[in-house]
């Protein structure tokens, strides 16, 4: 009887130890699952476009800014044309202005 009780106690202890070990192991797994998923960052598909082409793209100028630049261009061109008519020469006909549309 004593032997039976001893074997039973030993078995219970072994089962308890296994349960504790299993619990610890499963806790580690759930912890690791909670970590943020690692993502592999890939470059966007480029096909035949070169990366340098992307750098050449410029954001569109707002229409209000464009209108202001056109207005300034017209004024400067008018002044340049008047200057040419005051003293017509080949050089003054094609003189440069500080127009924002030409730079």
């Amino acid at each position: 009887m004593v032997m039976f009780a001893t074997i039973l106690m030993m078995s219970l202890l072994a089962v308890a130890a296994c349960a504790a070990a299993f619990a610890a192991a499963t806790r580690d797994e759930s912890h690791s699952e909670a970590q943020p998923e690692r993502r592999v960052v890939l470059d966007p598909p480029r096909f035949f476009a070169s990366p340098a082409g992307k750098a050449a793209e410029t954001p569109p100028v707002p229409v209000e800014v464009l209108l202001s630049q056109i207005e300034r261009h017209v004024r400067l061109e008018q002044v340049a044309a008047e200057a040419y008519l005051d003293l017509p020469t080949r050089e003054s006909l094609h003189s440069r202005t500080g127009s924002p549309l030409l730079h």
Binding site: Q78, L85, L102
Partner: protein, 156 residues
């Protein structure tokens, strides 16, 4: 009104200047108010006496249409020659850039005055031709400058 200084009346006596200016009907425009629109019938020309009139043309930008400044007329300058020159249709839009005052000269009153005073008609017409000729040369020069840039961009 005899104090208005304008190239249009160069060479006229004070009496003739006053007589011509008396034909003008004072017109007052608030800032941004339209004087005339492109394509509409032109029955009068204007002399700017105060302020500034912006002449614009429509330009297509990104699918929309925007008014682009072509020229500004200042006190002493004329605007709306189409009122005197066939086919009597305005070829630009005109609006006050700031609060402005003008004298409006109807075609019939001007032609009647010229018929009654041929010497005045001759002088004013000659002055008008000089003003129009100068503007034509300015725009011809501006056009050539733009053409030069197009050629440089395309073929250089």
């Amino acid at each position: 009104m005899a104090s208005v200084q304008t190239d249009l009346l160069n060479g006229l006596s004070e009496e003739d200047r006053a007589g011509f200016l008396a034909l003008g009907v004072p017109t007052r425009l608030a800032s941004r108010q339209t004087l005339f629109r492109l394509g509409t019938e032109a029955d009068r020309a204007y002399l700017v006496t105060r302020g500034r009139i912006a002449l614009t043309l429509p330009l297509r930008i990104r699918g929309g249409e925007e008014e682009i400044l072509v020229e500004e007329t200042l006190p002493g300058e004329t605007v709306g020659w189409s009122g005197l020159v066939p086919p009597h249709r305005f070829t630009l839009n005109a609006a006050a850039a700031i609060d402005s005052e003008l004298l409006g000269f109807s075609r019939t009153s001007v032609l009647d005055h010229f018929a009654a005073h041929p010497a005045v008609g001759h002088t004013v017409t000659r002055n008008l031709a000089a003003v129009i000729g100068h503007r034509l040369q300015v725009f011809q020069t501006m056009w050539l400058r733009e053409m030069q840039r197009v050629v440089e961009q395309r073929y250089s």
